[in-house]
């Protein structure tokens, strides 16, 4: 049996080079760490931090909830409480007297070994929110300037352009018009209404949609057209609902991003916001950014694409021409299932549109994380192998569904897509991955 020293040694061997972490750590001194951390404890380390760190009785019931733990041969360092032990508990009990090497390791744990998926929260008898604790560590990392390079770059993009992908204002509008042109070959009167004041729905997406997956905007436009929805998208900033600053610990930027997003919808006098199939963006808009700004709930009603699909199908506005006849399975994304209880809504849509539905086991609130969320995939290439290896359990779960006949995995979340795509390829699962919108687009009556 391995001792904890062995695990420590194994961790040393596997240390990954990340320029953001290494360069950031070079600028640290023990004094700086101590003063920044103590300041953070003073201002933000409140009752939740105390309750969560003190209520934990080290029982280990959270371990099996974590895909990192299950996928890394049950290495206890990957159990949720283990990650807490190695990071926040250590810093708090040493009152910030930790060194740069400690911060490097704490940063890697908080940013790449926890997806903030909150599955452990529903396995812990005390409901300890390990995601909150890991975010506290990330907040400290942000303030110390020790953040993985790629996700920090994404945070910079958010700050400079108010979107995740360095998309310039003109590129955004140009992409919408390009998709409109493309779609008009299929439906001549289709329109992507830009800056239509007073429309019912403000549709917002995440940065990667115009950058890499513009067809999703096309598909949504077709769905909107088919359902006769009065909708719009802004030509201004605020079109991107995503938020990696929420995951780098830059709360001030998170607040700013949510402000600009809500204000774009308010400026256009729309009645509600429909968000594309993204999970983390939903979390940032629904119960993170709004709170940072002083809004108890979003100032405008805000719904995820799944709820929107369900609504227009239920109202008979969207008609299914022919059901999707390949067997599908469904991956419940953490941020809209544990985060918003949309699991049954998603199943309603799937059953309306698909002939054969096979459940993943476990499912709904208990589904395993995709391994990409919480900003982990945004930490980029240095951590890709680790991320894929750290979610073998997801591969096993998908393989079991495939064995039952599933051919297509539906994941209504961009991060989940990124994560599952890598897993399907790496573990050679031979499953096809789709958004719910992909299937709807294929199956609906378009005119």
């Amino acid at each position: 049996m391995k001792t904890s020293e062995d695990f420590q040694a194994a961790a040393e061997e596997k240390r990954i080079y990340d320029a953001g972490i290494e360069e950031g750590a070079k600028k640290l001194t023990p004094e700086k760490i101590r003063s920044v951390f103590n300041e953070l404890m003073q201002t933000e380390g409140g009752a939740r931090l105390e309750a969560y760190t003190k209520a934990c009785v080290h029982c280990g019931l959270c371990s099996d909830a974590c895909h990192h733990y299950l996928s890394n041969d049950r290495d206890p360092r990957f159990s949720p409480a283990g990650k807490v032990k190695q990071t926040i508990i250590e810093i708090v009990s040493r009152k910030g007297k930790v060194d740069a090497d400690f911060m490097k390791r704490a940063c890697e744990i908080a940013f790449t070994e926890c997806n903030l998926c909150r599955r452990c929260m529903i396995y812990c008898p005390f409901g300890i929110d390990v995601a909150y604790l890991m975010l506290f560590v990330r907040r400290a990392c942000h303030q110390l300037g020790v953040v993985p390079q790629y996700i920090q770059d994404t945070a910079h993009s958010h700050a400079a352009t108010y979107n995740q992908m360095w998309v310039r204002d003109d590129e955004w509008i140009d992409t919408l018009q390009w998709q409109e042109d493309e779609a008009r070959d299929e439906i001549p009167d289709l329109r992507i209404p830009i800056e239509k004041e007073g429309a019912d729905i403000f549709y917002s997406v995440i940065g990667p949609e115009p950058k890499f997956r513009a067809q999703l905007i096309y598909q949504m436009a077709v769905i909107m057209h088919a359902a006769g929805v009065d909708w719009t998208m802004p030509a201004s900033q605020g079109w991107d609902n995503s938020d990696m600053c929420m995951y780098t610990g830059d709360s001030e930027m998170t607040a700013r991003l949510k402000k600009i997003h809500f204000e774009a919808a308010l400026r256009l006098k729309t009645k509600r916001i429909v968000m594309g199939e993204c999970g983390h963006a939903f979390r940032s808009v629904y119960d993170v950014g709004n709170r940072l700004l002083g809004w108890k709930m979003p100032p405008l009603q805000m719904i995820h694409a799944i709820s929107f699909y369900s609504e227009i199908i239920e109202q008979g506005r969207l008609k299914i021409a022919e059901k999707f006849d390949r067997p599908v399975t469904f991956h419940d994304p953490c941020n809209i299932v544990r985060g918003r209880g949309l699991h049954e809504t998603a199943r309603y849509v799937i059953n309306q549109v698909c002939t054969t539905f096979i459940e993943l086991e476990p499912n709904r609130e208990h589904n395993y994380c995709c391994g990409a969320g919480g900003g982990v995939i945004n930490c980029g290439p240095p951590f890709k192998n680790k991320r894929v290896q750290s979610n073998r359990v997801k591969a096993d779960q998908l393989a079991a569904a495939k064995k039952k006949g599933a051919e297509v995995v539906i994941a209504p979340c961009h991060n989940c897509h990124g994560g599952l795509e890598d897993i399907i390829r790496h573990y050679e699962l031979g499953l096809e991955l789709k958004f719910l919108g992909d299937i709807l687009y294929e199956c609906i009556q378009k005119e």
Binding site: M1, K2, S4, F7, T43, E44, G45, G46, A47, R48, E50, A51, Y52, K54, A55, C56, V57, H58, C59, G60, L61, S63, D64, A65, Y69, R74, P76, R77, S79, A81, G82, K85, M121, I122, Y123, C124, P125, F126, G127, I128, D129, Y286, D287, R291, K296, M297, V337, R338, G339, R340, G341, H343, P362, E365, H366
Partner: protein
């Protein structure tokens, strides 16, 4: 010896009770004030309905997926915690002592039942000790304090049953029983034993957010 007995059965009982009650209340109040200052939002989202819904799922055996996944742990944990709290309160010897001292009394357990329950607590402690040694993740998480606490919890029960059955050296065991019982009460607000007092709040808040905001189950 007699002085120690006097001390343990007299003033220390009061000290222990005051520290236990005062410490628990004080710490909870302090946390409530800190929460107002630094986590004011939690008051906004706390919902008694959803808090209770969550708490109920977690105080009913096998009410959560987590508990169903680990039946042995669940069974032991429930029996242990129930016996841990019920036994000292409804033990005949304790009830009689209290009735004699303060003139208030309540129903008590048959001695045989109390014996069994005490043994269950001790076995529970052994189970948790074993878990801390054998199960890899729990061992990794365990701190020296966790082992000491198991000892603190087991001590009054071991010495209690010892004293009751008047096994050899029971006089000393009796004193140790009182002292260790008092120690446990004193430790409660200031050690990890405090998890008992925190449970309704952490679980309740998790349930409030899950039910009221996130519209999902947290069990």
């Amino acid at each position: 010896m007699h002085e120690i007995y006097q001390l343990a059965s007299g003033i220390l009982v009061w000290v222990a009770l005051i520290v236990f009650v005062g410490g628990t209340a004080g710490r909870l109040i302090r946390m409530a004030i800190t929460a107002r200052k630094k986590d004011a939002v939690i008051y906004q989202y706390f919902s008694f309905y959803y808090a209770l819904r969550s708490i109920l799922h977690w105080i009913i055996p096998f009410g959560s997926m987590s508990m169903r996944a680990r039946p042995a742990m669940t069974l032991v944990a429930f029996i242990f915690h129930i016996c841990l709290i019920i036994t000292p309160i409804f033990l005949a010897a304790h009830v009689i002592l209290i009735a004699e001292s303060w003139g208030i009394g309540w129903a008590y357990l048959p001695n045989a039942v109390a014996d069994i329950m005490t043994i269950l607590v001790i076995l529970g402690c052994l189970f948790f000790l074993l878990r801390r040694i054998v199960q890899r993740d729990v061992r990794y998480l365990s701190t020296p304090g966790d082992f000491v606490l198991l000892l603190v919890v087991a001590a009054p029960f071991v010495t209690g049953i010892w004293t009751y059955h008047q096994w050899s050296g029971f006089e000393i065991a009796g004193i140790v029983h009182m002292l260790s019982g008092e120690l446990m009460l004193i430790c409660l607000p200031f050690t990890r034993l405090f998890h008992m007092a925190l449970f309704p709040f952490t679980r309740g808040y998790a349930g409030s957010e899950a039910g009221g905001v996130r519209r999902a189950r947290d069990w």
